[in-house]
Symmetry: C2
Amino acid sequence: MTRFILSIAYDGTGYAGWQVQKIGTGVQEKVEAALAQLFPRRPRLHSSSRTDTGVHALGLVAHFDIPIAAWRPAARKLVLALNAHLPEDIRVCAARRVPAPFHARFDATGKQYRYFVWNHPAMNPLRRGTAWHVPRPLDVPAMRAAARVLVGRHDFRSFTANAGYRPQSTVRTLTRCDLKRNGPLLTFILEADGFLYKMCRGIVGTLVQVGLGKFAVEEMETMLARRDRRGAGMTAPAHGLVLWKVFYPAKIRQRKPTG
Amino acid sequence: MTRFILSIAYDGTGYAGWQVQKIGTGVQEKVEAALAQLFPRRPRLHSSSRTDTGVHALGLVAHFDIPIAAWRPAARKLVLALNAHLPEDIRVCAARRVPAPFHARFDATGKQYRYFVWNHPAMNPLRRGTAWHVPRPLDVPAMRAAARVLVGRHDFRSFTANAGYRPQSTVRTLTRCDLKRNGPLLTFILEADGFLYKMCRGIVGTLVQVGLGKFAVEEMETMLARRDRRGAGMTAPAHGLVLWKVFYPAKIRQRKPTG
C-alpha cells in the first residue's frame, strides 16, 4: 500500500462543501471520481477539513491509499493526471508520497482561514464570488481591538452554529486573528488548532458588526463568557471564506517529497 | 445641461467588450440602459477607452449629459441608483458633476492596465476568470530586462493587432512596464499615454515568451524596429487583462466633487 497526500484548491461556488452530500455535489466526490480514472479500486479520500457549502479552499489537504506500485511515475505527474480529469473549479496543486502513519486530519496541528470583505459603497465585480460586500464604513481599529480579545484559548461556543451534533469540547486556541486593509479590501487571517462549525464566519460577522458600531469592543469578553450563539453577532456569508492552509508538525512538513 | 463622469468596473467575461456591438452585448449598452431608467432621454456615454471582448475594467471613465436639473440629489446617490439597475458584473464605483468642457476620452493623459499571470503547474481556481495560466517556470529577471527595453517613446506597431483600421500613428510613450511577483501570481503594470489595439496583450504575450526562453532580451530592440506584428510574440489571452485606471490632468483630478 502506498499513501499519497494531495493539496487541493477549489472554487466552492458550485458545491455543497467538501464532503460527499446526499443533496448537491461535494468536492470530495469529484476528486474521488478523478482518482477512479487512474486507479483500480476507487480510492477514498481522507481530508484535513470539511468546508461548508460555498466556502472556497486553496490548501485543503487529503490523503488516500493505493495498492503498492499502482503508480510508478513521480508524484508530481499525478497532479497533471488528476487535473486532466477534474472540472476547472477544482485543482490538485501538489501531490507526494507519505509514510502510511500520516493522517491528513489527525496529524494536522492547525489551520489558517482567510476571509475577504470588500468595504466600499460599490462591490468590485471581479471579487463578487470571493468577498463579502460591506458597503458602510468600518471602524478598523475597533475591529482589531475586538479581534485581540478573541486570540488565545477560549470556549468558542458563542461563535459556532449548531450543526445537529455536539462536539466533545468547544474550547479552541485561536493563535492569530489579524485584519489587514488594502484600500477597500479587508483580509481577516485566522489561525487556530481547530475550528468549530461556522466559527470563522461567526467571528468575522461579529467583528464586522463591531466595525459598524453595533457592538462595543468591551462586549467581546461577555460574548465569549455567555457560551450561547445568540450572544454573539451574525454569521458572515460563505463566499468570502477560503481555507488557506493546513499545518503539520515540522518533521512531516520538512521531509522532502519522495516522488 | 449637466455633465457627469462615472468610474465603472466590470467583469468582462460575459461581454463583447465595452462598445455597443452588432453581435454580442457591450458593457456600454447595459450602463446606458440603467441611465435610461433614471433620465428622460437615454443619455449617451462617452468613454475613456474601449476594451476588447473578455477584458475587465476596474476604473473605466465615461461621461454623459443630462438636461439641467434632471438630477438634484448628491452625485454619490447616482452610484446607488445606477447600481440598482445594473447586473452584478457591472458596477458604477463613483460619480460626480464636471464642467461641460471635460471629455473622458480627449482629456485623458494616460492609462494604466494590469495583467495577471498564474505561474504554477496547477491553476488557482479562484483566479481562473482573471489570470492567464502559464504552467512552465518563467525567467522573471529576463522578462524585467525585456520590459525595460520597451519603456519610452517607440513605434509599437509590432505589438498591435490589425483592427481593420489604421491609427494615424502607432507611436506611443510607455511610461511604466513593471512586473511584480507574489508567489505564483505575476502582475504586469503597464502605463502609457495611450495604447494601440491589443498592445497590452501583445507586450505581455511577448514578455512571457521571453520568460519561457523563446526570445532573448536582445531581440526586443529588433522587434520594435521591425514595425511588423509577425516580428513580435504572441497575444496574451483577454481574461488576464484589467483596465486599472485612467489619468487626467491634476486640475481636473484634484477638483473637489461638486455633488
